[in-house]
């Protein structure tokens, strides 16, 4: 596969993933993940080069294995998930500057910049969540699936709102 067509395939997956997250189609979003072990994390806020440390060494904002990610999605879908009910945050995921694409057999890794905006009805203004993502994809049955999504935000403090109750 040429570099250009792989890049295009990755971009398609990222755009689909962003749309599912922004539309709160949580089950479809979860369906983009690979079978087997997975990792979904948001790294530490106040730690430079946080991506060199694991969630066992420093306080991440969140770190989900398969069980917890599935539970997170179940929880977020409930009307009793008060932080996002009855009116959910409106989010907009933007990915740019896709780079460092590396292929090792069926596994593809890359880095991409991320800018998520988040608007809440009961909170004036728009929260801007800038950062980058280290993705690991796996090709399973011909399709690209997400195996790891490790997000590192350019924030010291989580503010307006100070919680992470959306899919980043």
């Amino acid at each position: 596969m040429s570099e250009a067509s792989l890049r295009q395939e990755i971009e398609q997956l990222l755009y689909l993933e962003a749309d599912y997250a922004d539309d709160w189609q949580l089950t479809s979003w979860l369906g983009l993940w690979a079978e087997g072990e997975l990792l979904y994390e948001v790294g530490p806020l106040d730690t430079p080069r946080g991506d060199r440390l694991s969630h066992n060494q420093v306080l991440y904002l969140l770190s989900d294995d398969r069980f917890r990610l599935e539970q997170r999605v179940i929880r977020m879908g409930k009307p009793t998930a008060h932080a996002e009910a009855p009116v959910r945050s409106q989010t907009r995921h933007n990915y740019t500057h896709l780079r460092n694409i590396a292929v090792d057999g069926d596994v593809i890794t890359f880095k991409v910049n991320m800018l998520v905006t988040r608007t809440r009805r009961d909170n004036e203004g728009v929260a801007i969540l800038p950062g980058y993502v280290l993705f690991t994809l796996a090709r399973q049955n011909g399709a690209l699936k997400i195996q790891r999504k490790r997000i590192f935000l350019d924030l010291w403090v989580l503010s307006n709102p100070g919680t992470m109750s959306i899919i980043l």
Partner: protein, 433 residues
């Protein structure tokens, strides 16, 4: 004439005979009250600053805000612990811009004054510059220039506190029963504690006292945390643990209070969950035996099996749950706070148990967990209710009895006695000059 115990003030309706305890919402929603409480309460109380493990070695320092004061907390080269205001004695800038590190001197970036890590001025930039000042400035006697120290800094069970009141009494007197609760946490290990790197720092658009109340409010668990309790059921599948809510609330004197409820979701000291696997089971069994062997059956089981959330009046929250988690609250204004949550763990913890601790923290606690975001929403919505309606009073009457002594007593876990004790203390301090 008021009956015994009955009490009506600007902020309180306290009527034990009629089972009424109400707090005026101005206590949360008025900028003027906030300014007043800063003077009368926040600057006069002992506030958690950090933990001794952060400044274990000579030269170690952290910089930190307490209430609205910027501080340097360090251990100097002679091994003494200091808390300084982080401001140059010449004309003001912070002399340390790093969050943490090791330093033998602090150098002001503006004109280059150099302070030793015990705070004394060592140089004003050059010998030539030094000549322009009284010789006493650079000597350690009378007239010496030194970073301004907070006189009242003290520790209990490794937790360091400061009090900005020059005339404050001793920390241990202030803590009363809260001190013994801190001692109890320290019983988890004989090896001492270490700070886990990183903090959860997040803002909440609500008065800081709302988070204090929420931290030991057993009554809200079923409702606010319905989704978290569903998750707990899921992780307890296949175990014989029964995720029942229960336990007690207690008042500890001087407005401090705690609740103690059975562990729901396992913890590294020391309760096992099936999905952690066999290796973890053996390690946790060994840890449990160690604790019980050392402390005896009753105290040992209490240390292993009970979660305890404590509010040290007025704004320090120390939770002993999946981990020991301190939430120091910076009240930014009457309707906004910054939470700084950090955690300590036994130094001798097995790596597998540390892994479990970290996972456990992330699933429940913190702004990305399965519980905290819902709490935060409740607090913000409560604050909005105070600011957008004319309703004047909040109710804290649950479980009240005519003969209740609101200090140093216990009640069932979902009563509001601990909050009544908090507010009685708050009201008492606000009623003084």
């Amino acid at each position: 004439m008021s009956r015994i115990g009955q009490h009506q003030s600007r902020f309180l309706q306290y009527d034990p005979q009629n089972h009424i305890f109400r707090v005026h919402r101005d206590a949360y929603a008025s900028p003027e009250v906030f300014a007043e409480e800063k003077q009368k309460i926040l600057y006069k109380s002992w506030i958690v600053l950090g933990h001794e493990t952060e400044i274990a070695k000579p030269g170690d320092f952290v910089t930190r805000r307490v209430i609205d004061r910027e501080l340097i907390f360090n251990r100097d080269s002679a091994g003494n612990v200091n808390v300084f205001f982080n401001s140059c004695m010449h004309r003001g800038p912070a002399v340390c811009k790093h969050k943490e590190g090791k330093a033998s001197v602090f150098v002001c970036p503006y004109h280059g004054w150099v302070y030793k890590n015990d705070g004394y001025l060592a140089s004003t930039g050059s010998t030539k510059a030094d000549a322009g000042y009284p010789a006493a400035y650079l000597q350690r006697g009378e007239g010496a220039v030194r970073l301004q120290r907070i006189k009242n800094a003290a520790q209990r069970a490794g937790f360091y506190f400061v009090n900005f009141d020059e005339n404050a009494g001793p920390l241990d007197d202030y803590l009363q029963g809260a001190g013994a609760r801190l001692d109890r946490m320290a019983l988890q290990t004989t090896a001492g504690f270490e700070m886990i790197a990183g903090v959860h720092e997040y803002d909440i658009s609500a008065n800081y006292k709302l988070l204090c109340e929420n931290s030991y409010d057993g009554y809200h668990l079923m409702q606010t945390h319905a989704t978290y309790l569903d998750y707990v059921k899921e992780i307890l599948k296949g175990s014989n643990l029964d995720p029942k809510l229960g336990g007690t609330v207690m008042t500890l004197g001087n407005g401090h209070g705690a609740f103690e409820i059975p562990v729901l979701s396992g913890r590294p000291v020391a309760q096992w969950l099936p999905h952690w696997g066999e290796e973890a089971r053996l390690l946790l069994e060994a840890k449990r035996n160690e604790v019980i062997g050392r402390l005896g059956e009753e105290l040992g089981a209490n240390v292993c099996d009970m979660n305890s959330n404590m509010v040290i009046f007025p704004n320090s929250v120390i939770n002993d749950q999946q981990t020991i988690l301190a939430r120091t609250i910076i009240p930014l204004s009457h309707n906004r706070m910054r939470v700084r949550a950090w955690t300590i763990a036994p130094k001798d913890e097995h790596p597998k148990l540390r892994e479990i601790r970290m996972e456990n923290i992330l699933s429940f606690l913190g702004p990305g967990g399965f519980a905290t975001p819902d709490d935060v929403s409740m607090l913000e919505w409560a604050q909005t209710g105070y600011e957008t309606t004319n309703v004047a009073w909040n109710d804290f009457s649950k479980g009240m009895t005519p003969d209740e002594t609101p200090q140093n007593s216990t009640a069932v876990y979902d009563d509001e006695m601990q909050m009544r004790a908090y507010w009685l203390q708050w009201d008492k301090m606000m009623s003084g000059d």
